[in-house]
C-alpha cells in the first residue's frame, strides 16, 4: 500500500467570525483578508512540511489546484511541484492536479508536466481533475455546459502530445493547433501515471475504467462518507469487468496521531474546527451551475444502485457538512484520531473496506501549527506507516506508480 502526504495549503488567518461575516471562502472571498507576509511564511512552512514528509518516508507528496480559495493557496500547483523537485529526492511528486480545461492551450499542461517529470527524474504522478464549479465555472469563467467536453478534448491533446513522436496538428472542437511538438517530453514512457480526482460522477468512474486511470476520491468527509462512493465505484468496475486491484483507487483521509487518543483529541481540535468551520464555508450559490452535472448523472442518481450509493455518499456528506464541532467531526469519521496503533488499525480497516491502495493523508489541516504538523507526520511515519506498508502487496501490483530514473541528479551546494 502507498501512503502519500497531501497538502491543501490553507490560509491560516481567517478570522474567528469568518462564517458570520463573510459569505464564502471561495470565489469572491475578500482579498483584504490576505497578508502577503503571512502568505510568504505559509509557502515556506508548507514546503518545509512536504519536504519533511519525503524525508521521513512517505511514498509520495501531493499538491493540488484551487483558485480564489481561502483554504487552498495553490492556483498553480506546478510551481509548488517545481520547488519540490529540487529539495526532495525520494518521494514521488503527485500533482493532483492540473484542471485541464483551465489551461490555454492544453499543451501547456503537457509541457509543464513534462518539465516536472524531467526535473524530478521521473517521479511525477499526473493528476487531471475536471475541477470544482467554484474553480472552473466561477473563478475561471468556463462555460458549465462545455466544461467536461473541453476537459476531455484537453486530455486527448496532452496524451497525444506526450506519445506522438512527430509534430502533429490537432483540429478539435475547442482547440485548433497546427504544430504540436512539446519539448521536453516526460522521462517516464509512455507517460507518467494518470490519476483522476473525482467527486462521484458516474462518467468519471466509467472513464477511469475505460482509460485504465486511477480514480481518487478526494472527499473531506472521511471514510464513513466515502464508503458509499467507493462502493459505487467498485460496483461500476465490476459491471465493466475490471479487476479489484486496489491500486485502481485513491482516497483522502484526515488523520491526527498522538501517543494516546485523549492527547490526539486535545491536540487536533482547533485545526479541525478551523478547517471544517471556516475552510468549507462555501456559498452554495457556486455549488451547482447548470450543465456541470450531466443529465445522465442526474437521472442515474435516482435510478440505479450505483447511483444510490453515490447519492447516499452525497447525503452523508451534506448532512455531515453541518458537523463543525470536534466531537461531531470525530464521530462522523472526518478525522481519524488516536494512538499510532489505533490509527493504524482503523486505516487498515478503511483501506480494506474501501479497497484503496493509494491512501492520501492530510496530516496538516486547518490552522495547524508547524511543530504539530511535524509531530503528526513523524509519529505517523515511524509508528503507523510501517503497519500499513505491506497491505495488498502480496496480491496486487501497483501498475499506476511512477518509474523514476535509477540515477537522479542531486542539487549541488550553493557555495
Amino acid at each position: 500500500m502507498k501512503n502519500l502526504w497531501f497538502h491543501l495549503m490553507p490560509y491560516k488567518d481567517l478570522p474567528d467570525d469568518f462564517r458570520e461575516t463573510h459569505p464564502s471562502v471561495w470565489v469572491d472571498i475578500d482579498s483584504r483578508l490576505l497578508d502577503g507576509a503571512r502568505v510568504h511564511e505559509h509557502y515556506h512552512e508548507y514546503l518545509d512540511e512536504l519536504e519533511y514528509a519525503g524525508e521521513v518516508g512517505f511514498d509520495g507528496v501531493c499538491c493540488n489546484e484551487h483558485h480564489q480559495n481561502g483554504y487552498g493557496l495553490m492556483p498553480s500547483p506546478n510551481l509548488i511541484a517545481a520547488a519540490l523537485t529540487r529539495r526532495t529526492n525520494a518521494p514521488m511528486i503527485c500533482v493532483m492536479g492540473n484542471s485541464l480545461a483551465l489551461y490555454n492551450p492544453p499543451t501547456r499542461v503537457a509541457e509543464e508536466f513534462a518539465m516536472l517529470d524531467c526535473m524530478s527524474g521521473g517521479r511525477l504522478i499526473a493528476g487531471f481533475p475536471v475541477g470544482t464549479p467554484m474553480d472552473t465555472v466561477f473563478a475561471y469563467g468556463q462555460n458549465p455546459s462545455k466544461l467536461r467536453d473541453r476537459y476531455l478534448e484537453a486530455h486527448d491533446i496532452v496524451m497525444k502530445a506526450w506519445t506522438t513522436p512527430e509534430t502533429f496538428s490537432f483540429n478539435g472542437r475547442y482547440n485548433q493547433l497546427r504544430y504540436v511538438n512539446v519539448w521536453p517530453r516526460p522521462v517516464q514512457r509512455p507517460h507518467p501515471p494518470i490519476w483522476i480526482p473525482g467527486g462521484g460522477s458516474i462518467e468519471t468512474w466509467q472513464w477511469c475504467a475505460e482509460m485504465d486511470y486511477v480514480y481518487c476520491y478526494l472527499s473531506y468527509f472521511g471514510y464513513k462518507a466515502g464508503e458509499a462512493t467507493m462502493k459505487g465505484f467498485w460496483e461500476e468496475m465490476r459491471r465493466l469487468g475490471k479487476d479489484r486491484n486496489p491500486y485502481r483507487a485513491g482516497f483522502l483521509q484526515f488523520v491526527g496521531v498522538a501517543e494516546t487518543r485523549e492527547e490526539a483529541y486535545r491536540l487536533y481540535k482547533e485545526p479541525a474546527e478551523y478547517f471544517y468551520g471556516r475552510c468549507l464555508h462555501v456559498d452554495p450559490r457556486f455549488a451547482s451551475p447548470p450543465g456541470y452535472q450531466s443529465e445522465a448523472t442526474i437521472r442515474a442518481r435516482v435510478q440505479s444502485q450505483v447511483a444510490q450509493a453515490a447519492a447516499q455518499a452525497r447525503a452523508a456528506a451534506a448532512a455531515g457538512a453541518s458537523a463543525r464541532t470536534w466531537d461531531d467531526i470525530v464521530d462522523a469519521g472526518y478525522v481519524i484520531i488516536g494512538s499510532p496503533d489505533e490509527v493504524a488499525e482503523k486505516l487498515r480497516e478503511v483501506c480494506v473496506n474501501l479497497n484503496v491502495g493509494h491512501l492520501m493523508l492530510l496530516l496538516q489541516f486547518g490552522n495547524m501549527e508547524h511543530d504539530l504538523v511535524r509531530y503528526n507526520t513523524k509519529l505517523y511515519a515511524e509508528r503507523v506507516l510501517p503497519q500499513l506498508r505491506d497491505l495488498f502487496d502480496d496480491q496486487y501490483e501497483d501498475r499506476w506508480w511512477p518509474k523514476p530514473l535509477q540515477q537522479r541528479a542531486v542539487p549541488r551546494a550553493v557555495a
Binding site: V137, F138, G141, N143, P144, S145, K146, R173, Y174, D283, P284, R285, F286, A287, S288, P289, P290, G291, E295, I298, R299, V302
Partner: protein, 265 residues
C-alpha cells in the same frame, strides 16, 4: 382560452416544438429564462389579437437537443433556421430575456423576414458599473429562482407546476436544461457583442422592461435604445419583474398589440 395547436419543425436535424393559437397577423415569440413549460396566459392574451407562434429554441422545454450548438454564432443561425422552418415570409418577432439577443441578431440579419421587433428585458449587454444579476449563481431551493425572476413568485410557480403524471426528475430537468442552454451561449455575463450590431435593426422596435426587474438593470433599456437603427418605443410595466410575461400577461399583450398596430411607424 384559444385552442392551442402543437406541431414540430426540424432545425439542423433536431426537432423543435411549435405551439400556435389565434388568428390575425403572425407574431413569433421566443420565451425567456426557463422557456415555456406550457402555453401561458400571456400567449393566450396575445392570441386574442394575433396568430401567436411560440417555437421552442434548442434546449428549452419542447426541444431537447442543444449541445450541438457550440457558440453564439451557431445559436443565432439556429434561431434564424427556426424562423425559416416555421415558414412565414414576414412576422413580428417578440423575445424575452435570454432569447432577446438571438431575436435582435436575426432581425438585423433577416430584415425582410422580421417586420417589427419587441424585446422584453433582453440579455446581450454587460456593464461593470451596473452589472446584470448572475442567474447561474443562485442558491438551491424551490423559492430562489421564482423570487429572482418574477415580481410575484407565485406566477412562476403556477406556470411551472408539474402536470399530473409527469416524472418529477424529468420535470426538474426541463428547467435545468433550459438554464444550461441559455448558459451555453450567454455565460458568463451575457455580453454577446450585440451592442456593435444593433444599428442593423432598422425595423420599429418596442423595448419593454418590468419596473421590478431584479436581473437586468433599468439603465440597459436606454443602452439598447440609443444603438438601434430605427424607431424605438420604450415602456416599463408596473408590478412586473424580469419575466414581464409571467407577471403582467394582459398588460404586456396590450402594449405589444398597441405597438404592432401603430400606424406611425
Amino acid at each position: 382560452m384559444n385552442s392551442v395547436k402543437s406541431s414540430s419543425v426540424v432545425v439542423a436535424g433536431h426537432p423543435c416544438r411549435v405551439l400556435q393559437a389565434g388568428t390575425g397577423a403572425p407574431v413569433v415569440f421566443f420565451a425567456g429564462v426557463g422557456g415555456l413549460p406550457k402555453w401561458s396566459p400571456f400567449l393566450d392574451a396575445l392570441s386574442g389579437t394575433h396568430r401567436v407562434i411560440a417555437p421552442s429554441l434548442p434546449g428549452f422545454p419542447g426541444a431537447v437537443d442543444f449541445r450541438h450548438l457550440d457558440d453564439y454564432h451557431e445559436w443565432v443561425v439556429a434561431a434564424l433556421e427556426l424562423l425559416e422552418a416555421i415558414g412565414e415570409p414576414s412576422i413580428d418577432l417578440l423575445a424575452s430575456s435570454v432569447t432577446g439577443p438571438l431575436a435582435a441578431e436575426v432581425a438585423g440579419l433577416a430584415r425582410e423576414r422580421v417586420r417589427r421587433l419587441v424585446l422584453v428585458a433582453p440579455f446581450g449587454m454587460y456593464d461593470d458599473v451596473d452589472p446584470t444579476t448572475d442567474i447561474w449563481a443562485q442558491r438551491p431551493g424551490p423559492d430562489v429562482l421564482p423570487a429572482l425572476l418574477c415580481d410575484n413568485p407565485e406566477h412562476w410557480k403556477q406556470l411551472w407546476e408539474m402536470p399530473a403524471g409527469e416524472d418529477p426528475v424529468e420535470w426538474g430537468i426541463y428547467l435545468t436544461r433550459a438554464m444550461e442552454a441559455a448558459a451555453r451561449y450567454l455565460f458568463p455575463m451575457g455580453n454577446t457583442g450585440i451592442a456593435k450590431r444593433l444599428y442593423r435593426i432598422h425595423q420599429p422596435t418596442l423595448l419593454v422592461n418590468g419596473a421590478n426587474d431584479r436581473v437586468i438593470p433599468a439603465s440597459y433599456q436606454q443602452r439598447f435604445a440609443t444603438r438601434l437603427g430605427g424607431p424605438v418605443v420604450m415602456q416599463t410595466v408596473a408590478a412586473a419583474g424580469h419575466l414581464v410575461d409571467f407577471d403582467q400577461p394582459a398588460e404586456l399583450a396590450r402594449q405589444i398589440n398597441a405597438f404592432l398596430v401603430d400606424q406611425r411607424y
